[in-house]
């Protein structure tokens, strides 16, 4: 186990810049999840840490040792691939023991390590099978097994669950979490499934276009997104984004939205009166109540029942806004409802650069 330090790591393919200087310090035993849209450079960063991709500039250190010029085998890391990359001509046991054999581990030790890992992953009955005789979920476990028998300094996962169906994914997610609790190994996990990111991570690294947008605990990113990208990327259904003009009225900030409505904000902000802003509000923070309870009167355009609750598509002040409610009675197409916004739950971003604004103290 070891800490991983990434200092202004850049990657270019010819003239194409893929990573624009990534700085990231990952603590010993930490579980860090890289999220971001497709093509943002998550895999590239992971492969640079693994040594499968050269580092154009900057530095990567594992356990305090600079590894830029070390080949993968000398970095002592294990990686789980999206495709699993199991050796098709080897049995499950051979797949898992391959790295140990190359390290000239004594036979008894190898057998013991395989037995323990196979038991942990529920593969005891399958050790003599070849990968092609396994289901997707079992292959995934073998790939995990191959990583854990080595007891490496760090685990790297590149979308390990994306080839599994939803139920299996949920199950494996829990197992990965348990495994991390057991082994306490430093882990870097790439996904674009934000549920995986939220549930697994000690810290999430949100990336976009080769730039780290925000690093923080899952709830940090959820409650205090640093910019419009993170706000829109984290959370499902996605945060509502309402264009508005910031106004200072009676010493407190309000957001002037379309239709002449004013939404009170949590206080004055250190931006000039009249600044164009975007107000972000999560669907569950849009309070919907039966007509007559006070607030903006609006009609329900569409209902998406999720079972647990309903997502209501509303149109207060002529803007599409989604609300999440547990009250099924409100979820009828065309019904009139009243909508209120809690000032404390309104996120304010400047329109110019999408940065988050916090109320001035």
């Amino acid at each position: 186990m070891a800490a991983i330090d990434i200092t202004s790591a850049r990657k270019s393919y010819g003239s194409v810049d893929v990573l624009h200087g990534v700085d990231l310090a990952i603590g010993d035993g930490e579980f860090v999840v890289l999220v971001g849209p497709s093509g943002c450079g998550k895999s590239t960063l992971l492969r640079m840490i693994a040594g499968l991709e050269e580092i154009t500039s900057g530095e990567i250190a594992i356990g305090g040792r600079r590894v830029n010029d070390l080949p993968p085998k000398d970095r002592d890391i294990a990686m789980v691939f999206q495709s699993y990359a199991l050796y098709p001509h080897m049995t499950v046991a051979e797949n898992m023991s391959y790295s140990l054999k190359l390290r000239r581990t004594p036979k008894e030790r190898i057998t013991a390590a395989i037995t323990v890992a196979a038991a942990k992953l529920g593969l005891d009955q399958l050790t003599e099978r070849r990968p092609k005789a396994l289901s997707g979920g079992q292959r995934q476990r073998v790939a995990m097994g191959r990583a854990i028998v080595r007891n490496p300094k760090a685990f790297l996962f590149d979308e390990p669950l994306s080839n599994l169906d939803a139920r299996l994914r949920e199950q494996m997610r829990v197992e990965i979490k348990k495994l991390h609790k057991d082994l306490g190994a430093t882990s870097i996990y790439v996904t674009h499934d934000q549920i995986e990111a939220m549930t697994l991570a000690d810290r999430i690294v949100a990336m976009n276009g080769g730039v780290v947008q925000q690093v923080g605990s899952p709830l940090d990113l959820y409650d205090r997104p640093a910019n419009l990208f993170v706000a829109g990327f984290i959370g499902s259904p996605a945060m509502n984004m309402i264009p508005a003009i910031y106004r200072l009225v009676d010493g407190t900030g309000v957001a002037a939205v379309a239709g002449g409505h004013h939404l009170p904000l949590a206080g004055p902000f250190s931006i000039p009166d009249g600044t164009a802003v975007v107000i972000g509000v999560r669907p569950e923070h849009v309070t919907v109540s039966p007509p007559g309870s006070g607030g903006l009167r609006t009609a329900v355009d569409l209902v998406e029942p999720t079972g647990f609750g309903s997502i209501l598509h509303l149109g207060p002040f002529g803007q599409p806004v989604k609300a999440f409610t547990l009250d099924r009675a409100l979820g009828r197409n065309g019904a009139a409802v009243d909508v209120t916004f809690d000032p404390a739950q309104l996120h304010v971003f400047t329109e110019a650069d999408g940065r988050r604004m916090d109320p001035a103290a």
């Binding site: 693994a50 040594g51 499968l52 080949p71 993968p72 085998k73 890391i77 294990a78 990686m79 691939f81 495709s83 990359a85 199991l86 050796y87 098709p88 001509h89 391959y98 790295s99 190359l102 390290r103 191959r146 080595r150």
Partner: protein, 306 residues
């Protein structure tokens, strides 16, 4: 129910039509195969038991096993058999080794790879007779450079053609054959190499395997079925392949480069003894069939393991 009764009472002709339907559909292909493959084969096999000499208008009679009895004591045939083993073994092995090396090199990314690939596959397009002539001239001490290079390297004392040296003559056609046949191995092995998933190499690199270990534990197992089938094909092909020998040495000097295939050619088209030539060909056919069966069995067991 009515349908069942009706079908039972179907007239004979209709049933015949139905039974012959699959045969009618396949008839064009079957007729073609019979006409172009089976008929000549049977005819050729039948020659082996008949006395057919083109220059003797009274020949053509059935002679039973006479040709095979003659073959059993034919010293030239025995020499040709040993030479065939030598010629085939050396050619296939060297072609394979160089073909594999070439395929591995062409599988690496480098600038101008597409051009290099096209160039490397060029010899394949050269007609075999031209190849034979080319190499015969290369070995010729008067017009070819090779003997002079051998002298310069200290391998030879005076420039002379290895094609007329009884001890070395076989290496002439083998060299030409290797040059001509490398592309076949390179193409097929390169195709097999490119089908190996890249992430296996990455996984192995992370697992701690160096280049040699990766070659041994990933490349070779993936290539094994292709290697088996290409070696089988080339072996059968080369042991039947007399063009280069006929052009370059014509079996000489003193039968030192005479292989079974060129012996058949000489017997049939120089001595015009088609009966005897067919008998030799039949023996070669049986030997090659046996060999092919062995390789196919070997490949099956490989595939079952893989």
């Amino acid at each position: 129910m009515t349908a069942l009764v009706a079908s039972r009472r179907r007239p004979f002709l209709q049933r015949l039509a139905q039974a012959s339907e699959p045969w009618l559909y396949t008839a064009p292909a079957l007729i073609l195969i019979v006409a172009v493959m089976l008929v000549p084969l049977v005819l050729g096999v039948s020659y082996a038991f008949r006395d057919i000499k083109l220059l003797n208008p009274f020949s053509g009679g059935f002679v039973g096993l006479k040709h095979f009895e003659a073959l059993a004591t034919d010293q030239a045939f025995r020499t040709a058999l040993v030479n065939t083993l030598w010629w085939t073994g050396a050619s296939v092995l060297i072609q394979f080794v160089f073909g594999l090396i070439l395929a591995l090199l062409l599988n690496q990314p480098f600038r101008g790879r597409a051009v290099a690939q096209a160039l490397c596959f060029l010899p394949w397009a050269v007609p075999s007779f031209l190849t034979g002539l080319d190499w015969a001239w290369l070995f010729n001490p008067v017009i070819g450079p090779l003997p002079h290079w051998f002298v310069a390297l200290g391998l030879m004392e005076t420039p002379q053609s290895i094609l007329s040296d009884p001890d070395l003559a076989m290496w002439g056609p083998i060299a030409a054959n290797v040059w001509w046949g490398i592309p076949f191995f390179a193409i097929t092995l390169l195709a097999a190499l490119q089908a190996i998933p890249k992430d296996l190499y990455e996984a192995a690199a992370i697992d701690g395997a160096g280049p040699i270990e990766r070659f041994r534990s990933i490349t070779l197992p993936f290539l094994a079925p292709t290697i088996a089938i290409t070696i089988l094909l080339r072996t059968v092909w080369i042991s039947n392949f007399a063009d280069l020998i006929v052009v370059m040495t014509n079996g000489g000097p003193a039968d030192r480069t005479q292989i079974v295939a060129s012996y058949i050619f000489t017997t049939a088209f120089r001595r015009l003894d088609f009966g005897y030539a067919s008998a030799i060909a039949l023996v070669l056919l049986v030997l090659l069939l046996t060999y092919s069966m062995l390789i196919v069995l070997l490949r099956q067991s490989f595939l079952k393991r893989g």
